[in-house]
Symmetry: C2
Subunit: 344 residues, 2 copies
């Protein structure tokens, strides 16, 4: 009898949960982007820099918004929006990518189509102008999900994608960051163990700058993509979470789309992008509840830092991060634009 009362009580709680998470189409189409997360503090930022970042985020998201508004696909919106950020030296993706320990730029990207659950990813290319375009091409034109290195470049050439001289990715700013870290590392190596460089707060921040985009189109299809230069001073052919489906990128029309940015190793171990979808599917959580649990609870407990942008099948959108800031923007089907940098 006591058990029955308990269960009845439990049932009433369930009823309540159900009513609060009632599904309702909020937006017919929507788009959300990030340009990286990390220690972005207002005190380190001039008004001019802030305006420059915001203007580029606005330019990028409006490209995707216009595609969606005109009845284009979420795939096309994600591609074209990310390409604006890849072409800007402001972000750690495409032009503006950070330098490896060997002084090269090695680019990663991934993409997922929420309708078919098809996906494409690329790791470690040095001469493909738009890594996100290559990720999509791998999805559509090969039987594979993930290609890497020179092989991936050869595939890009076969498919006629834009190939550039590796110097295209060079930016003075990022090159100086590498020199600073190498010098600091030299000093630290004299006093410390070899692992010190990876605990360096500068590196931790320098590696944040991945860009990403998630879009829902008028046909109800969700697409998600992520593009990055990885981690300053990376070596040993390190692969982070950006090209890993389920960690850096995930999309499923049944639930949501997610693009991650942050300390890649923790995002892989936490299965960040797919875990948000799994909590929505299996635990019936809302997008907000799922992103919050995965970033603020699970990822944080493990020691990971970073964030995600996510969007569900009803057009709900969520920014979630545990760092000081995340370059981010969203637009709904009414054209309402939100652009933010710092924590609120």
């Amino acid at each position: 009898m006591k058990k029955s009362i308990l269960l009845l009580f439990f049932s009433l709680i369930l009823m309540n949960c159900e009513s609060t998470s009632k599904e309702e189409k909020i937006n017919d189409f929507a788009i959300i982007i990030h340009g990286g997360a990390g220690t972005i503090l207002k005190k380190n930022m001039t008004d001019e820099m802030e305006a420059t970042y915001k203007a580029k985020l606005e330019e990028a998201i409006k490209v995707g918004y216009t595609i969606l508004k005109n009845g284009g696909t979420s795939t096309d919106a994600v591609l074209k929006t990310i390409q604006v950020m890849e072409e800007s030296p402001l972000f750690n993706a495409g032009k503006g990518a950070v330098f490896t320990n060997a002084g090269t730029n090695e680019l990663d990207a991934s993409f997922m189509d929420g309708k078919t659950l098809n996906a494409g990813a690329v790791a470690g290319v040095k001469d493909v102008k738009s890594p996100i375009e290559l990720a999509i091409k791998i999805m559509t034109d090969s039987e594979h999900v993930m290609l890497s290195g020179e092989g991936a470049s050869a595939f890009a050439k076969e498919k006629g994608l834009d190939i550039v001289n590796p110097s295209y990715f060079y930016t003075e700013n990022r090159f100086q960051s590498l020199q600073k870290i190498i010098n600091q590392e030299k000093t630290e190596l004299d006093h410390n163990d070899k692992k010190a460089n990876f605990y360096d707060p500068i590196i931790k921040d320098s590696k944040f700058g991945t860009v990403g985009c998630v879009a829902l189109d008028k046909f109800g299809n969700i697409a998600a993509g992520t593009s990055t230069g990885g981690m300053t001073n990376k070596r040993w052919g390190r692969i982070g979470d950006a090209p890993i489906i389920g960690s850096g990128t995930y999309a499923n029309n049944k639930t949501c789309g997610v693009s991650s940015t942050g300390w890649g190793e923790y995002f892989i171990r936490s299965q960040v992008a797919y875990d948000i979808s799994a909590q929505m599917e299996y635990q019936k959580k809302s997008l907000k509840e799922a992103t919050k649990d995965v970033i603020q609870n699970k990822l944080s407990k493990l020691g990971g830092t970073g964030g995600v942008v996510a969007l569900d099948k009803n057009g709900n959108m969520s920014f979630e991060f545990n760092t000081e800031g995340m370059y981010r923007a969203s637009m709904d089907d009414k054209g309402e634009l939100i652009i933010k940098i710092y924590k609120e």
Copy 2:
């Protein structure tokens, strides 16, 4: 009122589910392995070949079993068991790995520790004798989860791992498989489109042969590992699911450990390894229910083929595959050994 009755009914169902999935420690320690899944038919197998495979599976699993029985760790059991299979030309991992389109052997592996959720993975190494050992070394001795190509080899050298001449991985058998496929491809390319080679049933089968192991030790720690040569005739630096945490390998002391084998692209898109854990954690499914849903329902619907071996925190074990056969074995804490090849 009607709703209350319905809810009460629902509560009773819930109660019932709870009692059937009651958690009980089945084994203090346990180990389960696979040597690949695919079209393995009794009619194509001589008694001698069958005995040879079974003997090697038995040799491998007993190495891990003995470690666990003597109070060793699940990490050590997984490492040493997989090494026996890597050193055997029977399996597509280490010696005996399939050949790429370029006539090389490029090896992938991954490992996850269910206690710390730490992980290590390597993609595309050509001269490291034991890829699974390298995956574990990346986990324990670097700040990274995933390294690739020549960079990963450089790391292996720095850490003093066994480096071999790439010819170590050569086996006549696998080399002939590549020639057969290349010849067939040439014929097909004359008549068909460029994608034909990937639909070739020979390739589909040739790529199955990944090895994997999951172990639970007396301390309650689960570890999982996977090692492979990938896909015969692979090109463009293709990376399959074996080195992808959450797809090829996953372990979590709270739920289970999983190692996958099969058509890698589908295992990535389906998030096979982590999805089994997520269904156990979020839907309270048993290991058997979760592995069955992920392989027979979700993976199959997408068109993927292959299987998993999995083991939960209570020592329950599960073989699950949708192919004609899977080389597989398990041992429980009573020393009971199961070795099987075909579907039953």
